[in-house]
Subunit: 145 residues, 2 copies
C-alpha cells in the first residue's frame, strides 16, 4: 500500500491534479455524530480498552457506514473514557448495533462499564490526514460541503 | 483526485495488495491528543463556527504535524462546542499555535469564546475510513501499534 501511495503522490505531482497541500471537502450528508462518555471499573480498565479497541477496528474495517470511531481516556483520570462516533447515516448506526462484533463488545464489557452517557452531536467540520500520517492529504467532512 | 483514487482501488484489487476490507494499523508515536470544551456567545455562533472551520481545514492542509481536528456542537445546546485534536508530537502542536491561521483564529474569535477548557487525553485507538467515505480503507492509530 505504501508503494502504491508513493506512486500516486508522484503521479499527482506529475499531472498536477493534486497539489502537495491538497484538501478534499466532502459532504457529511445525513451522517450521525455522537459522543459517548463512559466510566470504567478501574480493576478492569486494561481488559476494557483491549475489547473496545478490537471492536472499533472491526467496525470501521467491516462496516461501510462506520466512518470513524475514536476513543481516548481523560489523562488525569483514565477510567473516564470518551468516544467520538461518526456513522454515514442513522441506518448505518442501526446496522452497527446489530453487528456480531458490537454485540460481542456489549456483552463482554457489561460488567466493566459503570456508567454510559450518549450525547448527540451536530458536526461542524471533521478534518483529518487521509493516511493518518503527516504525508496524507487533508480530508474535511462537513454538513454543508 | 476521485479518478486517481478509483484507479488506485482498481489497481489494488488487481495486484491483491489491499483487500476490500483492509485495515492499516499505525503507531501514534509521541502524538499529542487533546479535547477542548468551549462555550460560545450565542449571538456570534454562526460566525464562530465559520472561522473555526476555516482554521481547522487550513491547519490539517498546511501543517504535516496536524493529524486531525474534529469539531462538533452538543445537539441540545449548540453553544457548547467540542474539539478533538490530534498532533503528531508536542513539537507539532507548538508549531501549530504559532501558525498564521491559528493566530488569526485566536484573535478573531477572542470575543466570541465565553469559556475554554483544555483536557489532555490518552488515546486508546483512533480508527477512520481513509477517504472519509464508505469505500475507504480502515486506518487505525494507536499508541502501541
Amino acid at each position: 500500500m505504501k508503494i502504491l501511495l508513493t506512486a500516486i503522490t508522484a503521479l499527482s505531482f506529475t499531472i498536477g491534479s493534486v497539489p502537495a497541500r491538497a484538501q478534499q471537502n466532502l459532504d457529511l450528508g445525513p451522517a450521525m455524530v455522537r459522543m459517548a462518555e463512559l466510566e470504567i471499573d478501574p480493576a478492569q480498565l486494561d481488559a476494557y480498552k483491549a475489547i473496545l479497541a478490537e471492536e472499533q477496528a472491526a467496525s470501521v474495517r467491516l462496516e461501510p457506514g462506520v466512518l470513524m470511531l475514536h476513543s481516548f481516556a481523560i489523562a488525569e483520570d483514565p477510567t473516564r473514557v470518551r468516544l467520538l462516533e461518526v456513522y454515514a447515516s442513522k441506518n448505518a448506526y442501526e446496522s452497527h448495533i446489530r453487528s456480531p462484533h458490537f454485540l460481542k463488545y456489549k456483552t463482554s464489557t457489561e460488567k466493566m462499564v459503570r456508567s454510559l452517557r450518549l450525547i448527540d452531536a451536530a458536526p461542524i467540520i471533521l478534518c483529518a490526514k487521509s493516511s493518518g500520517s503527516p504525508s496524507g492529504t487533508a480530508i474535511c467532512l462537513s454538513p454543508d460541503k
